[in-house]
């Protein structure tokens, strides 16, 4: 909330510099968003006196002025204005000056004549008629009286005020007003606070003869006070009021509207002024809107209402959207004769709901949403009437209509002083607590260490000892809190197993030159289509965000590959030659759509690699290292993901369960990411990967007996998977197998068409004894016969 410092001084004595006051307010819980010194945007603009005016040779509207700006030499300025004469005192923006409208004035030439600045209009100085008489005149602002040339214009305009923007936290709606802030300032500075008097005289009569008020829904409107003012004398409000309103970001309109706005800013209670003469049946009914009822609001917009919305109706129709905005029809205008004035409390969540569903937000609705004090409605009415009286804006009819369903009784909180210090860990003398609470208008007495706190209705945020502790501490000072080291069990904290495993995995991946990436959890609604998935593919069943930041971020991802492809594309298109990336994140798999319960969040890893040294097998190598880390027995089978190259993809099984799918990205898919290179991706189900981790390390004695190496070179059909050959060798060698390694694969000259040559080195070893020739021959024969069974014949 923005407040003029000068205006605050009407309520509270401020005896320190503005920065110091703000610092103290910050330490009491009122963050200061900005301190704006008026005139900070008006730099190097001084009083000048026009000494001589000559016409411009090349222009019939420009004039050349010689200006005395308090220096020895006159300054030459060219102006287009016609309302000036020699001897006038005028605001003169010198070379290198700044004006409130953001303009930066520098010396230049106007139609060939040097001009070392600019003469300013009221508008250019950001002034209205309220700030300086004559400010609205078209042309240069002619200053009043005899002035000393060279005086800074800020001094002339009285721009000595500061506008302070306090950030009021949601628990302190009572401070969304001048009085609330002033009260807090008086507490932090220890100075006097004074709320304005509310004296006024009526012209007699009885308000009940003028209007009938009926509240039909006390739950949504616990209190409604109405008064009537006759014979309005509408005119502009006084300068001081206009300044206070403008400082807080509202626009002055006329005395009646300004009074309602000013009282809202001052007391926090929104007021509403109705044109009494437009109220049909001289009746006010506070009721829920009828289905389909319509209203045109002050800003000329039409709304259709629903039955959960509260309206202030006259005898026939809604005249105001309760607590949000008045109706056009009952608006106060320059010729309005009589006024019905409302001061009410509306239920905050109802206002919030209505404002949101209609998409309206006003100063009033904001205050009702955060909560106004039911006891403040009457004070605000009195304050408004006293201003009407003081400004002679109309004739006040005697009496108020006060509709309520019983007002809250005073609330007494009892807490022990000990329980307060126990929470804070700071010993605050009980007398000090009592003193602080009383200064905050939380009337407190103490007996035997028990505090009895009388909580006014305005502080409904104060509910128990924690709130009392906060109120005491923020004034006593948080610098009294002295850190104590952690107490309790001495042990190192644990991490969840998944997190430990992910850490281990990341160490491995780092070692393989892979970079961890992080991408958003949501993708565009169309992203999934880039993967060319079947229309029944479960991954198309993604959860949509109801209120996304746009389609680009609208869908919770069911896979990580599209995000990875985007990252690969970014890097490739920035001409980065190669890259190895991985991401560990979650996939969101709904149980049903639309969602009725939390979806499964599946820990998943995606991998993406590209570059001239990468191919299917380097990716397979990465997968293999990952599987080895978790010690599972793995197997590779062909897979059929539509987004991968049909002949260059595989699924990795661990204990017969699919853990990973990987391969080269289908060129059509790559193309939709502007990728022309071959790129390789994998997606790994981490919960499956972690689940297969049964690896328990037990030392195996180092071999005592020598190994025997035998090479097998064979011819087979070109289509025979090498994996089958390896299986044949492995099972043939049986227990004697130490390892079998492919060392050559060849297709070409000297090999019959449709065939390939494959060569393996096989190491045999026994842990019991040196192998005998018989054992070796038996194993070799078994291997050969196994190979023959699958159509691989030894090359002679």
């Amino acid at each position: 909330m923005k407040i003029s410092l000068n205006h605050l001084k009407n309520y509270v004595e401020i005896n320190v510099p503005v920065e110091e006051m703000c610092e103290k307010m910050v330490m009491a819980g009122f963050e200061v968003e900005s301190i704006e010194k008026q005139g900070d945007n008006l730099v190097n603009c001084v009083v000048g006196q026009i000494k001589k005016i000559t016409p411009h040779e090349n222009s019939d509207h420009l004039q050349i002025c010689q200006i005395d700006v308090g220096k020895e030499e006159l300054v030459q300025i060219v102006t287009g204005a016609q309302n000036i004469k020699e001897g006038d005192f005028v605001p003169t923006a010198l070379d290198n000056s700044y004006l409130p409208n953001g303009a930066h004035i520098v010396a230049g030439k106007l139609r060939g004549v040097d001009s070392f600045g600019m003469l300013c209009s009221g508008e250019e100085l950001g002034l209205t008629e309220a700030d300086y008489e004559g400010a609205s005149v078209h042309g240069i602002l002619i200053l009043k009286g005899e002035l000393e040339t060279g005086t800074d214009m800020r001094e002339i305009l009285g721009l000595d005020d500061y506008i302070i923007d306090f950030k009021i936290t949601a628990n302190r709606p009572d401070c969304n007003c001048f009085l609330g802030v002033a009260k807090e300032i008086s507490v932090v500075l220890g100075t006097k606070f004074k709320a304005p008097e509310t004296n006024y005289k009526t012209v007699g009569g009885n308000v009940k003869d003028y209007i009938d008020v009926e509240v039909k829904n006390y739950e949504l409107c616990p209190r409604y006070i109405g008064t009537v003012v006759k014979n309005l004398r509408i005119k502009p409000s006084p300068d001081w009021m206009q300044k206070a309103i403008s400082a807080s970001g509202m626009r002055p309109i006329n005395n009646i509207v300004d009074i309602t706005n000013f009282v809202m800013l001052e007391t926090g209670q929104p007021m509403h002024a109705f044109n009494y003469n437009e109220l049909s049946g001289k009746k006010i009914v506070v009721r829920n809107a009828n289905a389909g009822e319509k209203i045109t609001t002050l800003d000329g917009k039409d709304y259709e209402l629903t039955t959960d919305m509260l309206v202030i109706a006259d005898g026939e129709k809604p005249s105001c959207l309760a607590g949000i905005m008045g109706g056009k029809e009952s608006e106060i205008e320059d010729d309005t004769k009589d006024l019905f004035l409302e001061s009410a409390k509306f239920k905050r969540d109802n206002i919030r709901h209505t404002a949101r569903s209609l998409g309206i937000r006003t100063e009033a609705s904001g205050r009702f949403e955060r909560g106004v004090d039911i006891m403040n409605t009457e004070y605000a009415t009195n304050r408004a009437l006293s201003l009407i009286y003081e400004l002679d804006a109309g004739d006040i009819i005697d009496g108020k209509i006060d509709c309520n369903n019983g007002l809250p009784k005073e609330r007494i909180l009892t807490v022990t002083a000990q329980s307060v210090t126990d929470l804070l860990g700071v010993d605050i003398p009980t007398e000090k607590m009592v003193e602080i609470l009383n200064s905050l208008e939380l009337k407190t007495t103490e007996k035997d260490g028990v505090l009895k706190v009388n909580v006014p209705s305005i502080r409904d945020d104060v509910e128990g000892r924690a709130d009392i502790a906060e109120e005491v501490m923020r004034i006593y000072g948080y610098d009294h809190i002295v850190g104590t080291p952690m107490r309790g069990d001495v042990r190192r904290g644990t991490k969840l197993d998944e997190r430990n495993k992910a850490d281990k995995l990341k160490t491995l991946l780092c070692g393989m030159g892979m970079y961890e990436i992080m991408t958003y959890s949501f993708i565009s609604s169309g992203a999934i289509d880039t993967l060319l998935l079947d229309k029944n593919d479960a991954r198309r069943n993604a959860i949509k965000i109801i209120n996304p930041l746009g389609d680009e971020y609208s869908t919770l991802r069911t896979q990580l590959t599209t995000s990875m492809l985007t990252v690969l594309s970014t890097n490739i298109n920035r001409k980065i030659e190669n890259g190895r990336f991985y991401e560990i994140s979650k996939r969101f798999i709904p149980h049903s759509l639309p969602v009725t319960e939390q979806p499964d969040e599946l820990a998943t890893m995606s991998i993406g690699i590209y570059g001239k040294q990468e191919d299917f097998f380097t990716l397979k190598g990465i997968i293999e290292q990952i599987m080895k880390l978790f010690g599972s027995h793995t197997q590779y089978v062909r897979s059929s993901e539509p987004y991968l190259h049909p002949g260059r993809q595989a699924s990795c099984l661990a204990n017969n369960k699919p853990v990973a799918v990987f391969g080269e990205v289908h060129p059509a898919v790559a193309a939709s990411y502007d990728i022309e290179n071959r790129v390789y991706v994998a997606e790994i189900d981490l919960s499956e990967l972690y689940a297969v981790n049964k690896r328990k390390v037990t030392y195996k004695p180092l071999p005592k007996f020598p190994a025997v190496e035998r090479d097998f070179a064979m011819l087979c059909d070109i289509d025979l998977p090498v994996g089958d050959i390896e299986k044949a060798i492995t099972s043939g060698a049986g227990r004697l197998l130490e390892k079998a390694e492919l060392f050559d694969i060849y297709v070409g000259s000297q090999i019959p068409e449709g065939k390939k040559s494959v060569a393996y080195s096989v190491w045999l070893r026994s842990n019991e004894a040196t192998l005998t020739d018989e054992q070796i021959d038996a194993a070799t024969q078994k291997i050969i016969s196994n190979l023959e069974k699958i159509g691989a014949t030894l090359r002679k």
């Binding site: 819980g29 963050e31 936290t169 949601a170 628990n171 969540d349 949403e369 955060r370 929470l423 804070l424 860990g425 700071v426 000892r465 924690a466 906060e470 501490m473 923020r474 948080y478 610098d479 809190i481 850190g483 104590t484 080291p485 952690m486 107490r487 309790g488 069990d489 190192r492 904290g493 644990t494 991490k495 997190r499 990341k506 070692g511 393989m512 030159g513 970079y515 961890e516 990436i517 991408t519 958003y520 959890s521 949501f522 959860i543 965000i545 109801i546 209120n547 996304p548 930041l549 971020y553 919770l556 990252v567 890097n571 920035r574 980065i576 990336f581 969602v595 009725t596 319960e597 939390q598």
Partner: protein, 339 residues
């Protein structure tokens, strides 16, 4: 015979010194010491000597043999060393040529910083837990003392998936789950991803990361909160870092504070990073609100505790002076390489 021996010894010595390569040395070895060598031939003539002369002469011959042997060995070693030296010299490399390596990858900077933080909290006995990213309205708000239509909900723009299911706006959502499932003493941190409907710009991201901390036990005070945060701040920002509490408001804590630490850039003197204040706001904290304890089945008359929420992204961008938060999610390799 003695003269013969002496002249042979002299000749051998000169020949060895004059030898030019290992081959010549080998030849000299054969010539003098071989089975058919000159010394052996001399020994064979010993038979012609008188029995008195024989041992004297034998000793002389042996001495000569040993002497020649030593000369040969030392010459051979010298030559070998010289050869090695030459070979090594010829093999000299340009050590400024590029290394041959598979360079290591990197953990994402957010996780590097996160790991540092988790390590600090683990060392103080905090267990690290996780919570779901898709939460119910109940756990994200209701249970944390933020009923429907409460103005505090304006502090956060929430992404909704249905009326009651949403993307969590704060890791505090995990608090309630922990408190419902565990009895005090509780001492946990819960890092994770959170979501708010902030338009993307240099300092705002709809996806960011927090670390929630929660301690509940008998007799936990606000001073304990400060102690933990001081230790944390000192380990993250250096041992001279001070911590300052500023009163604030969060619905789920009371009292609530914003926590500032000494600006790590200027050490508190005031600079551009801290906007001249000497302090940087790093987290929000407070004593767990009695209503929150109660709604999680913990008696606020018996137990009290504190909670804090740290913004990981902000601390990361400050640490590395990353000017635009979007870089964290763009994943340009040249960016990732730097951490």
């Amino acid at each position: 015979m003695k003269e013969k021996l002496l002249s042979l010894k002299e000749a051998a010595k000169n020949a060895i010194i004059a030898a030019k390569d290992e081959h010549e040395i080998d030849e000299l070895r054969v010539k003098y010491l071989g089975k058919k060598g000159e010394l052996t031939a001399l020994l064979k003539q010993m038979g012609s000597l008188s029995p008195e002369e024989r041992p004297v002469m034998g000793q002389l011959v042996n001495e000569a043999k040993q002497h020649i042997e030593e000369l040969i060995t030392s010459k051979a070693t010298e030559m070998k060393n010289k050869a090695t030296e030459l070979k090594l010299k010829a093999e000299t490399l340009d050590i400024t040529l590029p290394a041959k390596t598979q360079s290591a990858g990197k953990i994402h900077p957010l996780n590097t910083v996160l790991n540092d933080m988790l390590d600090i909290f683990q060392s103080m006995g905090f267990d690290v837990l996780d919570g779901p990213e898709v939460e119910t309205d109940y756990y994200c708000f209701e249970c944390l003392n933020v009923p429907a239509d409460h103005p505090a909900r304006d502090m956060q723009d929430t992404f909704y998936l249905s009326k009651d299911i949403l993307l969590r706006t704060q890791t505090s959502a995990a608090q309630a789950r922990v408190m419902q499932n565990n009895k005090p003493p509780i001492r946990i941190v819960c890092p994770g991803r959170v979501f708010r409907a902030d338009e993307v710009d240099a300092t705002h991201s709809p996806v960011f990361h927090q670390i929630e901390g929660l301690v509940v036990d008998k007799g936990i005070t606000m001073c304990d909160l400060k102690g933990v945060l001081e230790q944390f701040a000192r380990e993250i920002y250096g041992k001279d870092t001070a911590v300052k509490f500023r009163p604030s408001f969060f619905p789920f804590t009371e009292p609530s504070v914003e926590v500032d630490v000494t600006c790590s850039e200027c050490g508190g003197k005031g600079c551009r990073v801290c906007k001249g204040t000497g302090w940087i706001e790093i987290l929000g904290a407070g004593m767990v609100h009695p209503n929150v304890l109660r709604s999680c089945g913990i008696d606020p008359e018996v137990y009290q505790g504190f909670a804090f929420g740290i913004g990981l992204d902000r601390i990361t961008t400050t640490r590395y002076k990353i000017s635009d938060i979007r870089l964290l999610f763009e994943n340009d390799k040249r960016f990732l390489e730097q951490f």
